[in-house]
Amino acid sequence: MVETPNTNHENSHAREPGAGMGAPEAKAWFVREVLPLEAALMQFLRHNWRNESDITDIRQDIYEHVYGAACQEIPQSAKAFVFATARNLLINRVRRERIVPIEAAGDFEMLEMRSDEPSPDRKTIARDELRRLNAALDRLPKRCREAFVMRQVQDLSRREIATRMGIAEKTVKRHLNDAVRMLADILYGEPPDVKSRS
């Protein structure tokens, strides 16, 4: 039996903003258990919600609820909890917007996920992820990547990067922000590239 996530907004305001600040275990759980589900979650959302421009907001909404709940009590199964939350929020959204996406008319389709796959040893993961990270970096726009590498690897300040690249600090800031956001989308939001796995 899956725990029932509370996605009812009227009841959830009992959570004071910032109530989770003192919940480092909730944060650790969120990073360790929930974020790795993002690729599957995004697939689920894209499958069940046709308006692509809403997806980021919906994901954010789901995370907010899931993390908020974890601040009270860590759910037993992250996967079941995340997808149950996603389902409930989609239903809420359908009601609220008084629109019924075709896909939402029926049951939300739960994706089959293979959680019992044997996990490769740490070294294989590390090397795999290294390739993944490099592949992710390669996909950033050139200037964006340059700025990010100067920040991340060479530890230069925004000002130093601006001088080196001959652009405004404001532009550097935008490049860096874009870089970190795209990186998160690639690392968490996309399934690992099967081809690159050894």
Partner: protein, 324 residues
């Protein structure tokens, strides 16, 4: 249906929140310019909503992954020309040695605790006085805290010290014949078979060579000083902020090599790995590399240099041999 979480109905888009979170993260990454006020402002922003928190945690985790996985762009390249320039630059670094007479006295604390890390591991010790010591790979350290002094011995390896200054109870670290006395400070100390290196990051410290002799040599170190003690003689070189940051990279599992020979880079990497990189060919040993690598991934290093230098890589059980 009303939305009780956002009573004023100012629902900020996830994208805007994420952008702000990225702002904070990149701002914070610039440690030199990150103040306590900044931290307070960030805490306040996080406390405003769960949405802020999750967006921030997510980007933070992605960045952490990038940090941990290291080898961001292992940009290895052959650059013999640049290497000779770098050599000249090193040669012109001013080496300063200051001699002084210091009464060499130190006391043993009553409680001595011993700490050890194995190859590839690191450990952070938090002392009761708020000081912190981070042990790098393959390191042995003893710490004594007594009523009339604080003392540590670096018996082997390397450690990063962040010492809470207390004029009444100075903190001293002994490595072989060298002794560092903190004057409110952050520094690294590393033992080599033939020498000891001290790099001062922040604050000030006094370094004494020949700790037991009344004719000991002594210098006061300033931030950016890297002192080498060998056979009782002290040499001090100035290091750029860049170099200091590189030298502390191990704290995040990162090794940065800037125009280093492959042999030197391999030596450095081998400290962190049971699988040793072996180079016998003198030509290969002299190749120059530039790049950042994961400390505990010898295989990734070998992959990178293999591609860039077209080397032959032989993977054996306990070593990786690089050859032409």
């Amino acid at each position: 249906m009303t939305d009780a979480i956002y009573p004023q109905d100012v629902r900020v888009s996830a994208s805007e929140i994420e952008d702000r979170a990225a702002d904070w993260l990149m701002e914070r990454k610039d440690e030199r310019n990150w103040t306590e006020e900044d931290q307070k402002a960030l805490d306040a922003w996080l406390a405003q909503s769960l949405a802020h928190q999750v967006a921030f945690f997510r980007l933070e985790a992605a960045l952490d992954r990038a940090e941990r996985l290291r080898a961001l762009q292992p940009s290895v390249r052959q650059s013999n020309g640049v290497w000779s320039i770098a050599l000249k630059a090193v040669a012109t670094l001013s080496l300063v040695a200051i001699a002084g007479v210091v009464g060499a006295r130190y006391m043993l604390g009553p409680r001595v605790a011993a700490y050890q890390t194995s190859i590839g591991d690191s450990e952070t010790l938090s002392l009761g006085d708020g000081s912190q010591i981070e042990l790098n790979t393959d390191t042995s350290l003893r710490v004594a805290q007594g009523s009339n002094g604080r003392q540590a011995w670096l018996d082997r390896g390397e450690a990063y010290f962040q010492i809470k200054h207390d004029a009444q109870h100075p903190f001293t670290v002994i490595a072989g014949d060298s002794r560092v006395t903190d004057l409110g400070t952050k520094f690294t100390l590393r033992r080599f078979p033939d020498r000891v290196e001290v790099t001062l990051i922040e604050g000030g410290a006094r370094l004494d060579a020949d700790k037991d002799q009344s004719t000991a040599r002594s210098v006061t170190l300033r931030p950016g000083d890297m002192a080498t003690v060998s056979n009782g003689a002290i040499k001090v070189a100035r290091k750029s902020e860049q170099t200091l940051a590189d030298e502390l990279g191990w704290r995040h599992g990162i090794l940065t090599f800037r125009y280093m020979t492959l042999a030197q880079a391999a030596d450095e990497l081998n400290r962190y790995n049971r699988t040793q990189i072996v180079i016998t060919d003198p030509h290969v040993a002299k190749l120059t590399i530039y790049g950042a690598f994961t400390a505990n991934d010898a295989a990734a290093f070998a992959d990178a240099v293999q591609t860039d230098f077209k080397l032959h890589v032989e993977n054996l059980r306990d070593r990786i041999v690089l050859a032409r």
